[in-house]
């Protein structure tokens, strides 16, 4: 008589996404849909040059435009101690420039007016006089002895270097290299990309002087962190700040940081005592908000003749733009780069990292990735590819020799992570079978005889998803746990709130499935709410694939605590002692008498109408969950391509993705996440980058230059699954939101390289545009993607 879990939309049900009801009808409610009485509109004037001293800003003509209410400059912000704000990496960032502009697109002034047309008209009337300074667009230029100092605003910042950082075992690694038969090297650039959510960033600040309350509607993936940040920056009491993050049109990491526009709109509302709306345009989003990647990856690998990896060295040189604003756990200067090689048995490893300022937009956000894990895994799989070639060993065989075996878990990686579960070799086998691995080499040879270039690339990885635990992970000192609050109403319906914030992941659907799984309440009877700091429990938000590993676990724990209370109520209703009560999905019954039972709905009613003596009424719980470890999903991707030797154009012939993300709450949503991630991976590998010319002009400031793939050119993906439950997660789930973006790019690149490396080329930097592939084919030389690009 237990309820049928799939029928009630529980775990494992490919339940349709409930949020899609409004999204596909165009009824989503985004920040820009919010209209408040008396609302003003703000437009930001951005620098059109990349590095220049500000000699003067004349706003008088802007003030004259009818309908203009306020014009703000850096000087006016400075008078209120708001010209600079802290970043998520303990640096400072200009809110409105006072002394210099340091990248093209930097915020210089803001106009607040009756409507957005007027604000824009008036912005065009502000006259800024600049004195040009030399421009730096890559780390090579940044470290040159005669480089101009970008951050002359800071004390103790004599050069453009931000940090030197290292982790791992240097002497052990040196020793491994001494013992190596073969040493393989690789030198890569992971280009600057941009998460470019379809909805740009924006906010509506509404300060009410009579109550002292500041309400801000904001495009943020982490409303509670923003509340804390606003409390610190604007020096307002935290209980008087309410951040509401309504429907988000995508985030992908772009909506984690605090942006100048948010801060300016808040001050503007305080000054005008009117709500102030700021909605960034797409160019503003692309040129000024958090980018991803932009890091040079250099590696060396020590190998034994038989293919065993003995050790690994990695050096990263990262380009952070003008302000060090990476969103990442505090302890780690270059995110979780040291998760590289976590799926391989590598005895010794050492990572060194150097970060630089350049005249480019700040960011370094985790674009659909758990803090630089994308770069770490791209490096890993490009390194593996090169090493297998240098050994003259088969790509799959080389990986299988070195992958951590099933019986080695829990496995401590050379950099100290603890991976806990997986069936790596099984995933390899599933993928090899599906792509037709065994016959490929023959096929490739046959094709080459007829002048056709085929290639096959592999990418495998495990990645650390779901930060915390709180011992190791914090952002600005706030520990990385998460929370859920479940309230079951009298009629057995429920509301669930969490500290996460969905942006397309489908929390409204899957959280209800977890509750359904734990309580047997139909998922349709549970409403999920997130994003309002006045109502949701405190949480760190959604990014880095952390929602299911952390908030999702909190949901399960809250439901279990509710069930524990319901059990007491059931005992009372059934007039037996609690020990005699058994649970099956949706129902308690008396041990030995299956017919005598009460449903969870009966217990809910009793919690408000017939509770046992001495019991607190109500049926609800707030749970905070601090995970014991990260979760470690595994991916094995296989890609087959054909390259046109006359043009360098390449097509994907087949792509096989095997993902093991543990228990799948909603298989359809998991597949959607993988499909979307692979599409983004394909874009990065094939067409997408934000680059700069030598004057620091951003090339990629609009969607004609920064390319988002469409359904037309995106190849089909064949998906497979292997399930190894996470041993420590309450429902055995692992993160999946980012696996495909992280593991995907190397599969495409390795495939193209495999098709052309007979010319002697070892590397072509992403994106593998036809011209780059063609150049490699012609010259047999590596093709570097380091800016500046030459634009005649």
């Amino acid at each position: 008589m237990s309820v049928d879990e799939i029928k009630i939309g529980g775990m494992g049900a490919s339940r349709r996404r409930v949020e899609d009801n409004r999204f596909i009808r165009g009824k989503g409610k985004y920040v820009d849909d919010v209209v408040l009485p008396g609302m003003l509109h703000m437009e930001i004037l951005r620098a059109d040059v990349a590095h220049a001293r500000i000699k003067s800003i004349d706003t008088s003509a802007a003030w004259e435009v009818p309908g203009v209410r306020l014009v703000l400059t850096g000087e006016m912000m400075a008078a209120r101690n708001l010209a600079w704000m802290p970043t998520l990496s303990y640096d400072t960032q200009a809110v409105l420039a006072t002394d210099k502009v340091r990248f093209q697109g930097q915020e210089v002034a803001a106009v607040i007016a009756d409507d957005p047309y007027i604000a824009k008209d008036a912005c065009a009337k502000i006259v800024v006089e600049y004195e040009a300074l030399p421009v730096i667009v890559n780390p090579d230029q940044a470290q040159s002895p005669d480089a101009p100092l970008i951050r002359d605003d800071k004390e103790n910042q004599p050069t453009n270097k931000i940090f030197d950082w290292e982790i791992g075992d240097k002497s052990g690694t040196d020793k491994a290299f001494e013992e190596a038969d073969v040493i393989s090297t690789i030198d890569l650039h992971y280009p600057r990309s941009h998460p470019s959510p379809l909805e740009p960033c924006g906010s509506i600040a509404d300060y009410d002087r009579s109550t002292g309350k500041l309400t801000v509607y904001m495009t943020t993936q982490a409303p509670h962190i923003i509340r804390a940040a606003v409390a610190m920056v604007a020096e307002l009491p935290e209980h008087q700040i309410r951040i509401i993050s309504p429907d988000l049109g995508g985030g992908f990491g772009n909506k984690v940081p605090v942006y100048p526009g948010y801060v300016i709109s808040i001050l503007a509302s305080i000054l005008t005592e009117r709500p102030v709306k700021w909605i960034e345009d797409k160019t503003g989003n692309l040129i000024s908000t958090g980018f991803g990647r932009d890091v040079y990856l250099q590696g060396q690998m020590a190998l034994r003749k038989d293919g065993k990896i003995l050790g690994m060295r990695m050096h990263t040189i990262s380009d952070h733009g003008a302000f060090y604003a990476d969103a990442q756990p505090t302890k780690f200067k270059i995110g979780l780069m040291h998760s590289t090689f976590a799926c391989y048995d590598v005895p010794a490893a050492h990572l060194t990292s150097t970060g630089y300022y350049t005249n480019k937009a700040p960011g370094g956000v985790a674009y659909r990735c758990s803090f630089r894990v994308t770069e770490a895994m791209f490096f890993q799989e490009r390194m593996m590819h090169a090493a297998a070639n240098d050994l003259g060993m088969d790509q799959a065989e080389f990986r299988r020799v070195n992958l951590v075996k099933d019986d080695m878990f829990p496995y401590r990686t050379a950099f100290g992570f603890l991976t806990d579960s997986g069936q790596y070799d099984k995933c390899m086998q599933v993928g090899m079978e599906a792509i037709g691995y065994d016959t490929f080499k023959e096929e490739q040879e046959e094709a080459r005889k007829r002048g056709r270039l085929l290639g096959l690339g592999i990418s495998t990885m495990t990645e650390p998803l779901g930060a915390g635990n709180s011992r190791e992970y914090d952002i600005l000192g706030i520990k990385m746990f998460d929370s859920a609050e479940l309230r079951v109403h009298m009629t057995g319906k429920a509301i669930l709130r969490t500290g996460a914030k969905t942006q397309g992941q489908g929390h409204e659907t899957t959280w209800a499935q977890i509750v359904a799984h734990e309580l047997g309440i139909p998922a349709d009877d549970i409403v999920v709410e997130e994003g309002d700091t006045d109502t949701a429990p405190f949480g760190m938000g959604t990014y880095a694939s952390r929602s299911t590993p952390v908030a999702g676990a909190a949901v399960a724990m809250a439901a279990r605590k509710v069930r524990a209370k319901a059990r007491k109520i059931a005992a009372h209703l059934l007039e037996v002692s609690e020990e005699d009560i058994e649970w099956e999905l949706g129902r308690f019954y008396v041990r030995g008498n299956h017919d005598r039972g009460v449903t969870i709905q009966d217990c809910a009613l009793a919690a408000y109408s017939n509770m046992p003596d001495g019991m607190e009424p109500g049926l609800e719980n707030v749970s905070y969950y601090d995970p014991p470890n990260l979760t470690w999903p595994f991916a094995a991707y296989f890609c087959k391509v054909e390259v046109d030797p006359a043009t360098g154009v390449w097509d994907v012939l087949k792509f096989v993705a095997v993902d093991d993300c543990g228990v799948r709450i909603n298989p359809m949503i998991v597949e959607g996440q993988v499909m979307g991630g692979l599409t983004e991976a394909y874009a990065m590998a094939n067409m997408q980058y934000i680059t700069f010319d030598e004057s620091g002009n951003c090339i990629g400031s609009n969607y004609m230059d920064y390319l988002l793939p469409t359904a037309w050119e995106t190849p089909g993906f064949e998906l497979h699954e292997v399930v190894t439950p996470c041993p420590h997660h309450p429902i055995g789930a692992k993160g999946i939101g980012e696996c495909a973006t992280v593991a995907g790019p190397a599969a495409f690149v390795n495939a193209v390289m495999n098709a052309i490396e007979h010319t002697g080329v070892r590397n072509v930097d992403m994106p593998l545009q036809p011209n780059r592939v063609f150049e490699a084919l012609q010259t047999g030389q590596d093709v570097s993607g380091m800016p500046p690009v030459k634009v005649e």
Partner: protein, 292 residues
């Protein structure tokens, strides 16, 4: 999007539209499909005082072949109309080949052929097909109609030969005297991308001999590149042998004026032009052989 302030007019006849343009003294702009003009308004690269929306003017939405095979394309014929056209495949294969490569399917539902030629984007696909095919634009103004050879119409980047009070009402493309053959190849980074390099080739074949050859290039210069003489010089009166194809491809590639940028070096783009010319011609030669 927040463009500069403008007035909006939506006349229902050509005469009315021309009168508005005439009165505006050059401050007005015609709005056809809006797929180039609206982005320019958004970026405030264009700030016309008045938009004259011609979409309500009847009689401009048709394309047809007249008795001698001349193709007429009205000012409101959308890219998509040509993509799904049942009349141009045999008579005007160059246009037919380009139709599905212009922009993306969404843009193709709104953008107009004539608007694209008027816009004179050096990367525009239609202007290249027009130049290769010897087309004309029919302009109508207060003093009536005139026909302008497309090579005198597309003057430079984003400049055409229309007077401020003229409307391009139609494009006219002549038929082949023998069999029409042609092709269009475009290197794009993504569907909906403008051309990194593209090639339009149009042949008038008498048997297996080339009676007239036409060619134009997009994306590889500051304007649509007219390579008619280059290809005609190499192929007129000849058959499509591998040697002749090679010579034609070289001659056309020499006409390109590409610049290096993030899409590729000048050399690469020139190489693509050459590759595309020989691919189109080889395909035609190959299909001729099959037909024979």
């Amino acid at each position: 999007m927040y463009p500069s302030r403008f007035a909006y007019e939506a006349p229902t006849s050509l005469a009315e539209a021309i009168a508005i343009l005439d009165r505006s003294g050059g401050e007005a702009k015609i709005l056809a499909g809006g797929q180039s003009l609206v982005p320019m308004l958004k970026l405030r690269f264009a700030a016309p005082g008045t938009l004259v929306d011609i979409n309500n003017i009847p009689g401009l939405g048709e394309h047809w072949l007249d008795k001698d095979g001349t193709l007429h394309i009205g000012a409101l014929v959308r890219h998509e109309d040509l993509e799904y056209s049942t009349v141009i495949a045999d008579s005007h294969p160059t246009l037919a080949a380009a139709a599905e490569l212009v922009a993306d399917p969404i843009v193709r539902t709104r953008g107009t052929f004539v608007g694209s030629v008027c816009h004179a984007d050096p990367q525009g696909d239609w202007a290249a097909t027009m130049v290769a095919s010897g087309g004309q634009i029919i302009a109508q103004g207060p003093n009536g109609r005139r026909a302008i050879d497309v090579r005198e119409f597309v003057l430079g980047p984003f400049t055409n030969a229309l007077a401020y009070n003229e409307i391009a009402v139609e494009a006219v493309i002549p038929p082949a005297t023998g069999t029409a053959k042609g092709g269009y190849l475009k290197l794009e980074r993504r569907v909906g991308d403008f051309a990194t390099a593209s090639v339009a080739v149009n042949l008038d074949m008498h048997g297996d001999t080339v009676h007239r050859a036409g060619c134009a290039l997009a994306g590889v210069g500051g304007r649509t590149i007219d390579a008619n003489d280059a290809i005609n010089g190499a192929l007129k009166g000849k058959t499509l042998t591998p040697e002749n194809i090679e010579a034609a491809a070289d001659a056309v590639a020499a006409m390109a004026e590409p610049r290096s940028d993030h899409r590729g070096s000048a050399d690469y783009k020139r190489h693509i032009v050459k590759t595309f010319v020989s691919r189109i011609l080889s395909n035609i030669a190959h299909s001729e052989q099959k037909a024979a």
